[in-house]
Symmetry: C2
Subunit: 214 residues, 2 copies
DNA sequence: TATGCCATCCCGCGCATGCGTGATGGTGTG
DNA sequence: CACACCATCACGCATGCGCGGGATGGCATA
């Protein structure tokens, strides 16, 4: 095999589909599909006695080990391999978890072979190939993460006390840390509760963390 | 102008670059670059007496209003317009904030006109065009968000109670909600504290939220 | 059968918390 | 000069909480 050819493994339980993809990729210029596995377990076992590939195409939704776990394990045993998820699922949770597990790209199974080939090259070049709709979903998820930085008009002192509270300190401890009277802390706390529209420290901490105002 | 042509505005302070891009895009098939602005303020003002375009190319790092704020305002006044960020910056914070503000895509200024054109079509088709490196960065950021989904071996019941606790409920309230004795909730709570290695409800809630185990 | 693990329930002590109701002084704005 | 807002401090009371002790029954696995 020529030095510049890209080594690929494919993990996909449907044997027909697997072979079809492997053959198609192998015919693409510069690709070498060296491994076909029906499950993540098989691929992981192979990693112990075979050199890792440069890219792994992984179908999530396999029998046995969840594909999501699979990504994490593959990434651990072959960190330099780019794991590209192939899936029929488009729901946010799956996408999110795949990305968190370290997937380098996320394609739909409906993608033509040329797109898959392009994606592999892209991933190895440091990119993150994604189907357009998937990419949009990722951005949407992202946008939903930090938008709720609500401003409740907390004063610096109140923010400071809220921070200590998030760390699990009691009023007495906070008073000691900030060199204040217990009563002062108490008053600040009440004002915080009012501004955050809560009436327990638990509620305040929850709101503070959820809305990232600490 | 033909019905199927795509209307575009460009916001870019460098007049030479702006005119070059506008001309180039206008020559692309199906594009109509109708507006060129030197600042977000100008574009926003134009929105009040001109129909919004389908896509806005926006250079962040402009004088006056920050480009990041600009995105949010544009999105508010012309929600249906796809805002694509054009930038020289590749740092995570800028990318992150642009995305949170609602950018539909993120391109580098070094991109050739064909790529820009493709990106606009992609964005309008519901995609999220991104430069490959940018996309990778987005995924990296994402992965860094939820890495610590630690497993503390909480039982279903304990998880359930932890959830209520995060909502700010007292032990008595939780008991009522789950139709349990107060004492039962108390015991579960103690077990939760032990497993999470905390000793206050505040600490438990903080840990639960930080590590996303709710 | 024994040994865990889980979910359920019970009592009481001491301290922390939430809240009502005050007060004082500083700072900045109309 | 009021007025608002902030930071500071104070007392008391009812309730909630953390924790030290218990207990029972169910359901697995060894």
């Amino acid at each position: 095999m020529p030095a510049e050819s890209i080594t690929i493994w494919l993990i996909e339980d449907n044997a027909t589909f697997r072979r079809a993809i492997m053959r198609a990729l192998d015919q693409e210029d510069g690709f070498h599909c060296l491994g076909g596995f029906a499950s993540c377990e098989d691929a992981l076992a192979a990693l112990s006695h075979r050199p890792p590939p440069q890219a792994v195409l992984l179908d999530v939704g396999l029998p046995g080990m969840s594909g999501l776990e699979g990504i994490a394990l593959l990434r651990k045993q072959a960190p330099q391999a780019a794991v590209i998820v192939l899936t029929v699922f488009e729901d946010e949770d799956k996408i999110f978890r795949a990305i968190c597990a370290g997937a380098a790209g996320y394609l739909l199974k409906t993608a033509p072979v040329e797109e898959i080939a392009r994606a592999i090259r892209d991933a190895l070049a440091g990119g993150a190939p994604m189907n357009g709709r998937i990419a949009r979903r990722v951005l949407d998820m992202f946008a939903r993460f930090a938008p709720t930085r609500g401003d409740y008009g907390l004063t610096p002192r109140e923010t400071q006390i809220l921070e200590s509270m998030v760390k699990g300190k009691t009023k007495k401890e906070i008073a000691a840390i900030l060199d204040l009277s217990f009563h002062t802390v108490d008053t600040h706390l009440r004002n915080i509760y009012q501004k955050l529209e809560v009436n327990t420290r638990t509620g305040a901490v929850a709101k503070a963390l959820k809305e990232k105002l600490v």
